[in-house]
Symmetry: C2
Subunit: 352 residues, 2 copies
DNA sequence: GCAAAAATCCAAAGCGCTTTGAAAGGCTAC
DNA sequence: GTAGCCTTTCAAAGCGCTTTGGATTTTTGC
């Protein structure tokens, strides 16, 4: 009825016959207000549908309750589809804590400037760094800006310390390669992500170490490094299967290009597993997932290294919120091991 | 050197020997300031790296330069992957105009409340409505809140008027079904999206009208309606191919389930096109795209109805920004026609 | 040359919140 | 009863911007 004008602290406190100070403190849980008063205040606030203005609060406190995610469109002018799942996880955590996501698209080379601006403007309370390169200038800048941040992944830069959460990509790929080697494969291809990205770099290391341990030389013709999309897997596979000595197994950086790999094989009349083995890194992308959540009865399609990127989003978000709450706490980092699941796409190599 | 404390309007105006008013107006392009003064002000602002505080500006003007996107996690607890591409388009438009995205995850049933809060808090200057249902309560609320918004899609609710941008889904599916009918198919399946969504509802209408025109009864056994993910296409296809009278062609709501359809066929030793025709709605998802941007030489894989969801994002964002600039302008709406492209997955039905 | 109009610029009042520093009220202890 | 100590509440000063309603200066018109 009388919700004509939106009620603010002033009118609320006048209604209650209290000062703005007391009302503000009552609502923000300060100890120096009598519980009885607090109850009165809270009741009135709810009844009058009072909500503090975020911009006013932000101006007064310097906190925006916004978390920055600056993402770059990758080569194909797209948002990395893995990002959607990451953000789904992170967003859930933020929502519970009363934070929102501020999303900005910007090419990598502008991100340093953007972080500076976001920090100076106090537009966000913290940021998540996506897709760290092997050596990444964003880290140093963020540290010097004093803006809380957590890196999803790592970079190998010495010196500056920072919070991060990563999957043990090197070990995962080492293990997968070893699995194929143990099956008897000798010609193993790596359809990797962009190796400027640190995660891809590490995956390659794992792969190479395994080959080395088996006394097998790395063949550049079996190495690919691109954005992890479906057509890439297709193209790479078609190329390699044309070689004189084609691979008998393929290690793929994501289920997305792995789909391309299977499509290529299918075009060639080959069957994954029987003819060519495939192991993919499975980020548990929700729109591709099959039989993972569903009780585990079904045999998954791909043999895979598996780690939910959505769970990673949750965890990174939580780490960041913790840092924001407590900026002086020691830096944290977490390394997750990927699961290894055996599906239908691996078998010993076919005899020639 | 003296960048100790961040420079604000006050210090900047003192440095210049001007009032805050003049400096503010000079920077915001008001006409009543001499061009010479304006130049001086702008120069000084840049030199001192002055940036107006967003929260202060927001408090003073009531504008946040934030666009709200409230998205619900769909049944599979995921962000719809189509959304990522939409936001990639929209984000580009926003970035150019100096807006950011405020992203919030929330189940559909909470969105009405959330919109009310966002409006009351003046946290966003406008919102994009995603995934409109056939009858959607969000529209009415937004209109009564006076918060500028544009709907991606439409709802069929009478009465309340609103801005929207949609693809002509009914016509696209009508045309695709007709194409299959003309090829001689009589058993055509529809692997649709969730029919609570208006777009899916309209697609089904197009499909049914085409069948009706051809004098063919709709067979419920050939109708599916679920979240558009890969395993869904797989499962639906496996089920239908087990029928006594299996379909000879499938109309699929997205390339994602279409991948599942091909996987199912491949498992059955059937080839898309030769054995079973497939037409998919292709949103030009960037991570699946093949040979679309690349000059058009290659024959696309799927025969498809095609409309870039990324371009839709761009357009919707622009429409929203226009509305925010000029809230009293007449409502706009746009209906896009999908392209129809012939790929490798359609052929006349195989003779029995 | 002078009144009127136009062009510039300014002081101060918000916007709605948090927080400092102090006052008032209520209680205990002697 | 009153000094002293919590407890509870408050007035007022920001936070950094925009904007209203003048004031001042310059230009224009005749």
């Amino acid at each position: 009825m009388n919700a004509r004008k939106t009620v603010n602290l002033k009118t609320l406190s006048e209604t209650l016959g209290l000062s703005q100070t007391t009302v503000s403190r009552a609502l923000n849980g300060f100890p120096e207000v009598a519980e009885k008063t607090r109850a009165r205040v809270i009741e009135a606030a709810q009844r009058l549908n009072y909500r503090p203005s975020p911009s006013a609060a932000s101006l007064a406190t310097g906190k925006s309750r916004l978390i920055g995610h600056v993402v770059s469109l990758s080569e194909h002018i797209m948002i990395n589809p893995h990002f959607a799942d990451f953000i789904a996880g992170a967003g859930e955590t933020y929502a519970q804590a009363g934070y929102d996501i501020l999303l900005r698209l910007a090419p990598l080379e502008e991100q340093v400037r953007i972080y500076s601006n976001l920090a100076q403007d106090q537009r966000v309370d913290g940021v998540v760094v996506h897709g760290p390169q092997t050596s990444d200038s964003r880290i140093g800048i963020l540290n010097s800006l004093g803006l809380p941040f957590v890196v999803h992944g790592r970079c190998d830069e010495e010196g500056s310390d920072y919070s991060w959460m990563d999957v043990n990509n090197r070990r995962a790929f080492h293990r997968a390669a070893k699995f194929l080697l143990d099956l008897g494969h000798r010609r193993i291809a790596l359809v990797n992500g962009l190796e400027a990205m640190n995660f891809a770099h590490r995956r390659r290391q794992g792969y190479e170490i395994a080959l080395e341990e088996a006394g097998i030389a790395v063949d550049p013709a079996l190495l690919h490094s691109e954005d992890m999309v479906e057509p890439y897997g297709y193209r790479a596979t078609r190329e390699m299967m044309d070689l004189d000595d084609p691979p008998t197994a393929v290690l793929v950086a994501s289920v997305l290009p792995a789909l391309g790999v299977t499509r290529a094989l299918s075009d060639l009349g080959l069957r994954p597993g029987d003819d060519v083995s495939i192991i993919a890194f499975d980020d548990c992308l929700s729109f591709l997932q099959s039989g993972y959540r569903g009780g585990g009865r079904e045999i998954p399609y791909f043999t895979a290294m598996r780690s939910s990127i959505r769970e990673a989003g949750k965890r990174v978000a939580q780490m960041l919120l913790d840092r924001i709450e407590n900026p002086d706490a020691p830096l944290e980092s977490e390394l997750w091991e990927a699961d290894f699941v055996i599906g239908q796409t691996t078998a010993p190599p076919r005899r020639r």
